[in-house]
Symmetry: C2
Subunit: 250 residues, 2 copies
Amino acid sequence: MDAGLGMTGSLVIAGLGPGDEGLVTPEVTLALAQATDVVGYIPYVARVAPRPGLTLHPSDNRVELDRARAALTMAAAGKRVVIVSSGDPGVFAMASAVFEALEGAPDWHGLDIRVLPGITAMLAAAARAGAPLGHDFCCINLSDNLKPWSVIAARLQAAAAADFAMAFYNPRSASRPQTFADTLDLLRKVCAPERLITFARAVSTAEERIVTVSLAEATPDMADMRTVVIVGNSATRRVGPWVYTPRRAV
Amino acid sequence: MDAGLGMTGSLVIAGLGPGDEGLVTPEVTLALAQATDVVGYIPYVARVAPRPGLTLHPSDNRVELDRARAALTMAAAGKRVVIVSSGDPGVFAMASAVFEALEGAPDWHGLDIRVLPGITAMLAAAARAGAPLGHDFCCINLSDNLKPWSVIAARLQAAAAADFAMAFYNPRSASRPQTFADTLDLLRKVCAPERLITFARAVSTAEERIVTVSLAEATPDMADMRTVVIVGNSATRRVGPWVYTPRRAV
């Protein structure tokens, strides 16, 4: 593109997918090949191969706004910056943080910014399990870092009452082990014990582990921060080794 | 792989993404290169280049179960079959239909079947608009072919009451123009008139058109069958040319 000009900065917010290189889109691969700077959480930046002319800027978790501002500052200075996210950058990842950082900085509103979608964890997990999200579904971040448990609980109740399938991101961490236990307790009050629940850990990586159990059998320790959890709707069922949700409403 | 053996049949259900070849994963490209037979709805099969040794089987819309059975029959006979879907095969596409067809056919349960995820339309659309799905969201198929309006209405009510952002697939067709009009009427009763709604048509193709308006300004004719519609939550807002949903709950 304009690799020879140098002064036309840009910011790309790119999704690397869940881990397998076969799930990285060609559009993202091209953006990384043209980048002067790659910014992101340490394990995601580690997925980008070093090369001459490319500076890697790994940073710790929970510094999303600082990271976004640093990336915008470099783009405004003429760099071709790529922020890497796991999965899709628009699903509980870096895209919202960048627009939040932009909000207080009108000088940056004219920057060349693009969001490049990626394979998000719930869809990679659903594909491995079968088709548990084949009917209407909700996608909920169970982390209570950015919202209170009361909001999460209300959304779980609403989703169950309207018979949505559900996908949960960030179900459980060492610092907040209780949220997912509370989630299972809540679901047990409103869903039948046979409701199917799939725990998909480290999807598409060497450590992948996909387990489907009934809600009655589910325990909090089946999830960690590398797990995406999929709860079927009332019609979700097994066929052979697969789990799927019918296209028809019951 | 086992291209020389021929008798080890397999079925891959692959997502082609929304249209741009830069959004087709390498995993899907490889599966298509190894296929003997490609099955799918006419416009999706038209995206696969003909080559010697590959038979294309385009079929009409609304014959998903017949198509699934035909694909399974060929895989059982030793072919390497790929069913192509637009977007992601697990989101209102062919994966559920295949597992439904499998349900009545235990002889086929041992077949080598894989689902390969793709970039689904709502996430491609969200990326083009900014990050409108950056917080908890629901994904609803507005077609009433496979469920009654009462189910759709209950889900819209629940999603709005719990302040989910929403993505709508198949919002409107010539044969059922009323559903989307009814959807807008329902949303107007429970959401503020300033609520942002994005109409994303033919995302990532030459005909792409992305328009964001307020709920008060939205009209039914802004959507057709090639449109995915994204409704923000109560905090979704504009920043520069972008639309985003903050990571924090309000």
